[in-house]
């Protein structure tokens, strides 16, 4: 009956209940949408960056990421080619050998990054083929190069010309080769545009004097939720004394930091939002406690223990909070779902700047239960704390004085 009493008490003052529930509804709606938008935008951005080149997970020889040198290349044995067998969530294994070289033609020389790739599997994840701006894509068995537009521009090269590469290969061997340019690729990022040169994997291995070796295996994983199980599976099945398995957070700490900073900024907004709501709820609690002092006195007089009365009032406030939170979630669900399916698209300078870096200027919302449940939990905690006030008042209440009021 305490529960029934609490529920009915909520509806004693319908207008006040409606105003309080509406303010909570607004807070939950706004906070849910904001979080879904922020997380969705970041997920999309991370997915773009990661699938652009890095992959969600990479495998290297132990110590490679700290000291990125061709000398830390490792043999691409069959068991590594078939990592899917060890970690079923891995869609593709992208073997690469990468190091820096000097690119030259006539009198021009430029520092470039020469990456040996398996053209088919590389394209499956990074969509490299779609970046071809001139010429054709590579085949695995041909001696040819794909050159970023910026490199070609620096060196004054075009499709059909020959690029000369000179570097220090595996364990100090001389690396030198000349390759016809089969295609040009355009990267939005000026950094990549100035330095990328792709060769088919066996050609690059030969160039670096590292036959059968790779410096990294980038793993294509479609769902971010599969990253952790993949890390666990690989760490338990690979020899961790010989290999390092890193996820995108280890590979791209700057991106993680940017995301953390952005989230921290949003936390301030959430805190302000919830402070406003907290004052609203507290105002209701204050009014309710004052209004019903007389009734509290009567209830204690007729034999209700203070804890029972406190529990009833606490339940009232909690139910009011949850009512607002549930309504807020119900209001937010269709809106978040809508923008999940129909992401917000930016246009103008901002969109152009993003597209220059190869990212679509679209911001889908993240539609996941935990976003809504977190808000409901926050409101629950907030109201549970605020509802301690009437309990405190009831503990101190003197029935005779309350009934005289």
């Amino acid at each position: 009956m305490l529960f029934r009493l609490a529920w009915r008490n909520i509806w004693r003052n319908k207008r006040r209940t409606a105003i309080t529930a509406a303010s909570i509804l607004f807070a939950v709606f706004f906070a849910s949408f904001m979080e879904a938008f922020q997380k969705g935008a970041w997920d999309h951005l991370i997915s773009s960056v990661v699938n652009y080149y890095y992959g969600y997970v990479q495998v290297h020889q132990k110590g490679y990421w700290d000291e990125q040198t061709i000398d830390k290349a490792f043999p691409l044995v069959d068991s590594l080619k078939q990592l899917q067998e060890k970690a079923p969530k891995v869609q593709q294994v992208l073997p690469r050998i990468e190091s820096f070289a000097l690119a030259s033609t006539g009198e021009h020389t430029s520092g470039v990054m020469v990456v040996g790739i398996d053209p088919q599997v590389e394209d499956a994840m990074t969509k490299l083929r779609s970046r071809i701006s001139d010429g054709n894509y590579l085949k695995v068995d041909e001696e040819a190069a794909l050159v970023a537009e910026g490199v070609a521009e620096n060196l004054g090269l075009g499709v059909g010309d020959t690029i000369v590469l000179i570097s220090q290969g595996y364990h100090g061997v001389n690396a030198a080769g000349k390759y016809p340019i089969k295609g040009m690729v355009n990267f939005g990022s000026p950094e990549l545009n100035k330095q990328m040169v792709y060769l088919p994997l066996p050609v690059a291995q030969y160039f670096y004097g590292a036959n059968g070796l790779v410096t990294s295996l980038a793993l294509q994983i479609d769902d971010q939720d599969d990253i952790k199980p993949t890390l666990r599976a690989l760490n338990s099945q690979l020899d961790t004394a010989a290999y390092e398995v890193m996820d995108w957070k280890d590979l791209l700490p700057d991106l993680v930091e940017a995301k953390t900073l952005d989230s921290a900024g949003n936390i301030i907004v959430y805190v302000i939002l919830y402070l406003i709501i907290a004052f609203g709820i507290f105002g209701t609690i204050l009014m309710m406690s004052k209004e019903r002092e007389y009734e509290f006195g009567v209830l204690i007089s007729i034999g209700m223990h203070r804890w029972q009365l406190g529990l009833t009032v606490w339940l009232e406030v909690i139910m009011l909070g949850l009512l607002g939170a549930v309504l807020g979630i119900v209001a937010a669900l269709p809106v978040v779902w809508h923008f999940h399916l129909n992401p917000i698209r930016f246009s103008g300078d901002y969109a152009e700047a993003m597209e220059k870096f190869g990212f679509e200027a679209i911001f889908p919302t993240l539609f996941e239960a935990h976003i809504f449940l977190t808000q409901a939990l926050l409101v629950f905690i907030l109201t549970a704390i605020l509802a301690l006030y009437p309990i405190f008042k009831i503990r101190k209440l003197k029935p005779v004085e309350a009934m005289r009021a």
Partner: protein, 228 residues
């Protein structure tokens, strides 16, 4: 026999500022089955005496025993339990829980006693029938007249089968018909079920029906008249 005894009870309000002696050495004994009215002018200490007897307020001096229990020595929680089991209250302003129906209001006190649901319901209906509200059981207080609400309050006070009913100006807000009706019910319960009623009142209609009239003046018992 269950008895209420007060010995030299003193109650002072505002002891630190302007002290007001609401009770000034009250000695009184009320026996089981009495139908007693405590009367006196406003400020004479009637309500304070009822509050002290009912354990809602503690005396500054003197002893209060209810049914052999020294209620002044009880902790706050014990006192709440004691009131719940032994004392029923009827207040001037009815003080029903507005969101509960008449039946639920009567059941509520028994719920606090952890009585089984079936027993609660049967007794609530029995009591509401006894006060003539069999057709109003599912009405909320706002749907009842003042007299009907006070009858629900009497049924609520009787629900836990208390030894004593303390009624503070129970007829102050009632019209003549409702007052007569309420007094008939209480007198019948007193005679047939030997329930002890103690009223504080200045309503002559109540005083006329009382079998004992204790008059307080300035916090002291001025007269104590037992009628045949």
């Amino acid at each position: 026999m269950k008895v209420i005894t007060t010995k030299g009870v003193v109650k002072i309000y505002n002891p630190d500022k302007i002290p007001v002696k609401a009770l000034d050495g009250v000695d009184l004994e009320i026996k089981e089955g009495e139908f007693t009215a405590i009367v006196g002018p406003s400020g004479s200490g009637k309500t304070t005496l009822l509050n002290v007897i009912g354990g809602l307020d503690r005396p500054d001096e003197g002893d209060v025993e209810v049914g052999g229990h020294d209620i002044d020595a009880m902790s706050d929680n014990k006192l709440i339990d004691f009131r719940k089991e032994h004392i029923g209250f009827v207040f001037q302003a009815y003080n029903l829980i507005p969101v509960l129906t008449a039946r639920e209001n009567v059941e509520f006190v028994m719920l606090l006693q952890n009585r089984p649901k079936k027993e609660r319901r049967e007794r609530a209906e029995e009591l509401l029938r006894a006060v003539g509200l069999e057709d109003k059981m599912d009405k909320r207080p706002s749907e009842l007249s003042g007299g009907q609400q006070q009858r629900v309050a009497v049924a609520r006070a009787l629900a836990p089968k208390p030894d004593f009913i303390l009624a503070d100006e129970p007829t102050a807000n009632l019209d003549s018909k409702s007052t007569a009706n309420l007094l008939d019910i209480m007198a019948r319960l007193n005679e047939e079920e030997k329930i002890t009623f103690i009223f504080s009142t200045h309503d002559q209609r109540v005083i006329d029906r009382a079998r004992r009239v204790v008059t307080l003046v300035d916090g002291k018992v001025a007269t104590d008249e037992v009628r045949g």
